[in-house]
């Protein structure tokens, strides 16, 4: 549905490439029809610029942007305006017109497209039902809560029956509970309308709850991409790990870290993180290790979670015992398709 190739964007510097600020470089992305694709990064990573390049609110300095088979960068003004009607967009600060009621805000894109009044009424009313705001139709945005404003934003973005929905930090101004309700609305819309959704966010939780696939952006480049499950359970890039740490709490308390840095590590204990996914999550792992290999295992931290409906767990253990037995145990763990990572303290 969306194919981005070798996209770059730099600002300023005039003709001299030297002083230009490089916002994006060498971006290649392919988003399939009907999927929810996440773009995550720290602030300043270029994610908002990237999503604005998809509907050409920002014109890329180089590269190609194809949406539904159409090369957007090659379109003239009028063609581009027509193409934009196929791409809905919602924003962090909602960007609703304060001078218009809820109904008139949702009607705006239809007015702009020259749809007649009867048709507008026929199309806006079901959209307000869809986002649960039928009762609020005559209110002004100032009278709504943040979550309701974003619902108006979503209804407005859907008015032209787009094939793609761009969400630029759509939940970043909302509290956690409202965020969840907006995410479930987006998920619902994606399923019901078969809409392709691009979600830009700095919150890993949003990616985890909503997206099918994710690209991690760092300093204007895609440093990692894949299915959300893969990226969460096996992050490769340091930025990704840092972002995931916010959601999947793997930080140990400082006091514990201090104690671990002390004596018994030198006496042969090994600090390991065991990551198990799917069926392995159900196996009685610890008792097998204890009985079969005669090891002592001290569980320091553990958690189990579900990502895209698949269970995923991680355990931080201190393993003590005879060195050969420990190696055997680790080989056995790998056989059980459990990922074993040595953790270094300090």
């Amino acid at each position: 549905m969306i194919v981005i190739e070798n996209l770059a964007k730099h600002y300023g510097g005039g003709g001299a490439v030297g002083n230009a600020v490089e916002a994006l470089a060498g971006i290649d992305l392919r988003v399939e029809a009907g999927e929810i694709f996440g773009i995550i990064g720290r602030s300043g990573a270029g994610k908002s610029t990237l999503v604005r390049c998809i509907n050409l609110l920002e014109r890329p300095s180089a590269g190609s942007v194809r949406v539904a088979g159409r090369e957007l960068t090659a379109l003239g003004d009028a063609e581009l305006r027509a193409a934009r009607r196929d791409i809905g967009m919602i924003f962090q600060h909602f960007n609703l017109l304060s001078s218009r009621t809820v109904f008139d805000n949702v009607a705006l894109p239809l007015e702009l497209a020259g749809v007649d009044e009867a048709e507008i009424e026929a199309r806006v009313a079901p959209l307000l039902d869809l986002v649960g705001l039928a009762e609020q139709r005559a209110r002004y945005p100032a009278q709504l809560s943040g979550g309701q404003k974003q619902r108006v934003g979503i209804a407005r973005a859907l008015a032209n029956r787009p094939r793609v929905l761009l969400c630029d930090e759509a939940t970043s101004a909302l509290d956690p509970e409202t965020t969840r309700s907006i995410l479930s609305l987006l998920r619902d819309i994606n399923r019901r309308l078969g809409l392709t959704v691009i979600v830009v966010t700095h919150e890993m939780q949003v990616i985890k709850d909503l997206c099918d696939r994710v690209a991690v952006l760092d300093r204007g480049r895609v440093v990692e991409q894949g299915s959300v499950f893969e990226v969460f359970t096996d992050p490769r890039h340091e930025t990704t790990r840092a972002l995931i740490r916010d959601v999947v709490g793997q930080e140990l308390p400082a006091g514990l870290l201090e104690r671990l840095a002390q004596p018994h590590l030198s006496t042969g204990g090994r600090l390991l993180r065991l990551v198990f996914t799917g069926a392995a999550a159900d196996a009685p792992l610890i008792s097998v290790l204890t009985r079969r290999f005669g090891l002592d295992l001290n569980i320091l931290h553990g958690q189990i979670d579900e990502i895209q409906g698949r269970p995923f767990g991680s355990l931080l253990v201190l393993m003590e015992g005879v060195a050969e037995r420990r190696d055997e145990a680790m080989a056995w763990l790998v056989e059980q398709s459990i990922r074993v990572e040595a953790v270094h303290v300090g």
Partner: protein
């Protein structure tokens, strides 16, 4: 106060109304488009035209920095061309309008600039043309501010119209100077001031009221 003086008072009030009303109306009609052009051709806006924008800005500043009393006599040839005469209430409307247009232009520009860039971006993302952005977003969103600006302009015009006596424009200000000051009639002067204060209060309250009614923020 004699009946004769009262008639004089009433006539002067009507002259002020005519001057402020006509100049205010014309300045609104011409000043709003000026403000729009100043805004949209500005840097980073929807139709940036840097050279044109700067030239227009200079012209506006030049008009605004000319003291009204000087502007009034300086443009007498233009006044004669447009009003057919260079003296009287009708003639005074020309310089009043010319002074008010750039004033309205800047006030409207200031209101339009307050419209959140995010709103413009949102409608651009919907495929809006520049004209649609102006009609559907910029003007409706800035309307409360524009109404405030027009109120300020009307109040300023009431003040300027007091100088219209210099070209025989009449009005309350002129009455105050000729009778109150030159003929030593302090009661006339006081009356003029009181009427002007009440007039300005009414205009300001109406403007505030309308602006609030339009504001849904």
């Amino acid at each position: 106060m004699s009946a004769e003086l009262l008639t004089l008072f009433w006539d002067s009030f009507v002259e002020t109304l005519i001057m402020v009303g006509a100049a205010g109306g014309l300045a609104t009609v011409l000043g709003i488009p000026l403000g729009l052009i100043l805004t949209v051709t500005g840097p980073g806006h929807i139709l940036p035209r840097p050279v044109f924008n700067r030239s227009l800005g200079l012209l506006v500043n030049a008009l605004r920095s000319t003291p009204f009393i000087i502007l009034m006599v300086a443009i007498i040839p233009l006044t004669r061309l447009l009003a057919g005469t260079s003296i009287g209430t009708g003639a005074a409307i020309v310089p009043l309008t010319l002074a008010a247009i750039p004033f309205v232009g800047r006030l409207v520009e200031a209101s339009l600039r307050e419209v959140d860039a995010g709103l413009i971006e949102a409608v651009e993302a919907m495929g809006a043309t520049p004209l649609q952005i102006v009609r559907k977003v910029l003007i409706p969103e800035a309307l409360p501010g524009i109404v405030n600006g027009l109120t300020i302009m009307l109040v300023s015009l009431i003040g300027y119209s007091a100088m219209a006596g210099a070209v025989g424009g009449g009005g309350l200000g002129d009455l105050g100077i000729r009778y109150g000051y030159q003929r030593f009639m302090p009661d006339v002067m006081a009356m003029v001031v009181v009427v002007l204060i009440v007039f300005v209060q009414i205009v300001q309250s109406l403007g505030d009221h309308l602006s609030r009614a339009l504001d849904h923020r």
